[in-house]
Amino acid sequence: MTQTSHEEVRIGVYICHCGSNIAGTVDVAEVSRWAGLLPNVVASHDYKFMCSSLGQELIEKDIQENGVNRVVVASCSPHLHEPTFRNACARAGLNPYLFEMANIREQDSWVTVDKGEATKKAQALVAAAVGRVAHQQPLNSLFVPINPDVLVVGGGITGIQATLEIANSGRHVYLIEREPSIGGHMAQFDKTFPTLDCSACILTPKMFDAGNHKNVTMLTWSEVEKVEGYIGNFTVTIRKKARYIDVDLCTGCGVCQEKCPKKVIDDVFEAGLGYRKAVYTPFPQAVPKYPVIDRVNCTFFQKGTCKACEKFCPTGAIKFDQADEVITVTVGNIILATGFDLFDARKIPQYGYGRLANVFTSLEFERLTNAAGPTGGKVVMRDGVTVPKTVGIIHCVGSRDKNYNNYCSAICCMQSLKFAHLVKEKTGAEVYQFYIDMRTPAKAYDEFYQRIIHEDVHFVRGKVAEVTDAARNPGEEGKLIIQVEDTLVGKQRRIPVDMVVLSAGLEARADAKEVALKFGISCSADKWFIEKHPKLDPVATMTDGVFVAGACQGPKDIPASVAQGAAAAARVLSIIGQGEIEIEASTAIVDELACVGCKECITTCPYQAIEFLEDKQKAHVIEALCKGCGTCVGACLSKSISLRHFTDDQLVAEMIGAMWTMKQFERAELEAQNA
Amino acid sequence: MTNSFPDLEEAQVILITGSNTTEQHPIIATRLIKLQDKGAKIIVIDPRYTQIAQIADIYLRQKPGTDLAWFNGLMHVILRDNLANQDFIKERTEGFEELKAKVADYTPERVEEITGIPAEKLVEVAHLYAKAERSAIFYCMGITQHTTGVQHVWQCANLAMLTGHIGRPGTGVNPLRGQNNVQGACDMGGLPNVFPAYQPVTKDDAREKFQQAWGVEKLPAEVGMTIMEMMHGLENGKVKAMWVMGENPSLSDPDINHVNKALQAAEFLIVQDVFLSETAQLAHVVLPAASYAEKDGTFSNTERRVQRVRKAIEPLYGSKSDMEIICLVARKMGARGFDFETPQQVMAEINQLTPSYGGITYERLEELGALIWPCPNGEHPGTPFLHKDKFARGLGLFHAIDHQPPAEEPDEEYPFILTTGRIMFHYHTGTMTRRIEKLDREVPTCVIEINPADASRIGLNGKNKVRLQSRRGELIAEAKTTERVDPGVVFMPFHFVEAAANILTNPALDPVAKIPEYKVCAVRVELAE
């Protein structure tokens, strides 16, 4: 790699004491002295706290007054202070990419016992950084203009929140939802913990706002097919599935649903407990108000006759010949709020769901207690009439269980407590809570827990082994028996109940991986979308311009989801506000003279960031798409593609610096032994 | 070479000396190495521990310039231990008694003192070479480029004759010719003393034959000048004009400061070459020549194998083949006998006048691929090995030779011995190979070799620059430390104009062959910065 400028390399090296964090183990003065002898090093200092303003000034002064044009700071992890020192360099007029850091705290002084060894390791790491920095090149960031329109994927509460935040600020939002209506899981709930607000009462106005906002284009019954482009510049292809309803003519009067002769078990919204028609809106408050025709169940589509809906529709809005429509929209940012799936309780056969009639899932229970639900809010057993006298609520079903999901689903404790309260309130039944640990860490949550304790609910700490209807004594006849080890008393217990509610955990959407691939982001092993940083950047992803919010990123309750929706909106608005955005400077670049056009880099790039220039028969990196992972470099046999700031020269020089030092010490030791 | 590759496959012992074979004659080297798989033993005697030395079964390292001594030592042991081939000596040679007397003094111990070769190793080699049924000697410039170069060659012959390892397949004395057609240039009379096929210019019948054939009244009868004499001639005014065809003495000759002065003194210097070589830059007329790929002709390799060169493309950039240029000039000067259209016609004339090439016609080459001379007529199959039943002069003559030191030995002022040579990736003065990207990338510039002990003594740390000085000049080059050379010895390739080894080399000549002592001169080595 040719050096762009032929100016002499003059390196300044700064060894940080970090109080005694480093200096207590590493002989910093010796490292500094020794570094001063390395090739191209013109200044070498050690200082108490390099990250302090005085420490930074040391660097700035050397750059400005002593002609230092490469800087090495040996201190803590670059993840902590690389930006700090890069800024210091920039302030002094040095390109920040001419800076390199040696990590002699986290990776040396804190982990090495022997002081002599720690000093030697520090020397090797400094020599490595010195070797590397000599090969570093100034980099300038690329700026791309931001298309102010935004795509929000998922019309649950998170997506609605994000949509409204952005739309209210005057930016246009495309809100896309694959079900016929927005609302998501929250629309299915009756009450929300810990305040026991009516879910519909707080959600419906927001749905309405989103659906009728002048800055929102709502695309329900639609799915994203393809995403191309990069931050500021995405082109999204969307399939609007045929509703078989002309929405321009439909008034949402509901006559079609009334007249439709075909009843279908509604296992989406009603969790299988209720019915809908073949033409339907999922629930009365649906937004938009237009129904869809369920082609699979529609008699006309299946048998060619019926058309009852068409006959009765007062506006002639039924259109059996409607086809899917594929549209493209261009947006600058994308928020994914695709939510979660409920753990399928059938996977734990010993809990009996699907086999034992009166074992319910949490979602089924939500529908049971919902006044708009199939039982009108009555808590009854599967026969639809019997009110249970005892109810067992089992926590952590499919969560905190190494056989299924290791993680805690975050909402089940509170949800189960809510259920207990509702059962008590509606039936007065005995309620047992079977829990592993009670986790109620948010505002007013523990208070709710305390309240439920005082509502005479039985708490049994222990993982339920089995739910069975095999009675061992007459008292158990006709009951569901919950077999559990009560770890508080250290005893096996069998508790007969009438009804069992399984507080099923949350899981990533079944198609999360495909969706991630579509949007160029990653999934963790349990398929939750990965945020850029779990603490400091929780809604961004590694793909600039693509954000995640709500339960698609990990189990979350409503307040957290709403907060994330708003947070993602804020991030997006901040980007839009910048007008243009700086993208990763460490991107790959193709040496066209060397490139032989074999397309291996194109195949291997995880971001489709490399295109093939047909006219030149060469590969070409779309810088705005490149994330700087360097996978292409690892694949290119002719080394025609390189990654800026992680070039082969730089990495080899770094490695040689460390190896050279180790070999020097080894030789010195050998000579000392021989002498 | 007395022998050719196919028959050399039968060798059981291969003694290589003064040849960095893997780098200078890579394909010969690998052919020899492959014989190891069939059980052959390779012995290498060389001051540098080269790749072939590393591969060898036995490697002996002598001090540069002490070859006469170890040859005598080998022969001493062979005679002492009754390993000589007495029948061969009796029937085929003369001068044996003098030789015997001479080598009597060269006990292995004494040889060890002179050469540094351990006595027991010398004995081992002597036994191995002598006892094998078929042993072959290979040598190259490491043997010849000395003031005692001819004597070295005689020593090779002595050794081969003493043991009868000559005149049969798998034996012989096999010089490896450095350049692609150095054999042919000699065969064709590109020498001051002979016509083609080594017919002496001093012999009346030879001159008459050529006078008649070429249609000239009188051909000169005195031996002409050698290169070094020409250079002196230019300097002292005896030579006024010089025509250089595809050579680059400005870089290849010893003491080039002196050579360049001489060339600059020329009244008229003509250079024809493919590129503007260092010599061409001094010329009065430069004639662009076609490359090997742009012309037809023949090359004779080191085995005396005559092979075709074929035109793949027309001459580029308006260049002309050397043949066409010579003919144009000759015709312009009014000469007859230069009306050739094709090299094939020239070869027909060569067939007539050059007995050893008598049967080497283009028709036969096309049919057979190649012919090894001597090939006197159109039916002759060629001669894969020489000296089968008798030597050219009849009986083989032993030469009794004492060890003599090189012309210039290290002293306090110039404490190192400089030895020069080639490397794998370049050819001669680099005129062509340094313009081949892939070769240039491999070795872009001159790197000298120095022993680590010497390197640390002069304060060399890693790959620094060193200054080399001899009595004739100085230069700066990169240095690499390696055990390949002994302490006190530095090696340097001569391909590179920016650090031209021949600034330093000694123009002292072998009195017979007039070959300069490239392989030994005294230099000083110090840090350049």
């Binding site: 090495t112 092993a525 590694m542 971001y607 082969d648 190896m659 | -």
Partner: protein
């Protein structure tokens, strides 16, 4: 016996942070491994590993994110495909494939990191120095 010289190529997002995590937890491990930070284990070309051996390293580590956790989505998949082949090449060349350690460490796995480093240093300690093995037998 000289101490093993080891270079570790660690991905910036998981394993390098895992090393930081080990540091923050003050876990102790041998100092032999010197870390070179790379953006992703997928960036590590076989040539880079081999050059490190050429430079005299007795062992080379390539540590990345766990499969499925790659911050570049699937960069580490490429490492998981290239590196086993490289281990085979080493094996067929007579170089102990144990000298190349390929493993996965998340940002949270300080302990795992320290254990991998300790174990690998011990593995290499049990082998002769590579430079000793890498000398020509002839001559």
């Amino acid at each position: 016996m000289p101490e093993p010289k080891i270079i570790g190529f660690l991905c910036n997002w998981c394993s390098y942070r895992g090393a930081d995590t080990a540091g923050m937890a003050r876990l102790k491990y041998p100092p032999n491994v010197k870390i070179v930070r790379v953006p992703c284990s997928g960036r590590v070309s076989p040539e880079l590993v081999l050059r490190t051996f050429r430079e005299g390293a007795d062992g080379v580590m390539v540590l990345g994110c766990h499969i499925g956790d790659c911050h570049y989505s699937t960069g580490n998949h490429r490492a998981a495909k290239r590196m086993p082949v490289l281990k085979k090449v080493l094996e067929y060349s007579g170089i102990d494939p144990e000298r190349l350690c390929v493993n996965w460490v998340s940002a949270a796995e300080g302990e795992r990191f320290a254990k991998i480093i300790t174990d690998f240093t011990e593995t290499i300690r049990a082998l002769p120095p590579l430079t000793e093995e890498m000398t020509w037998t002839k001559g």
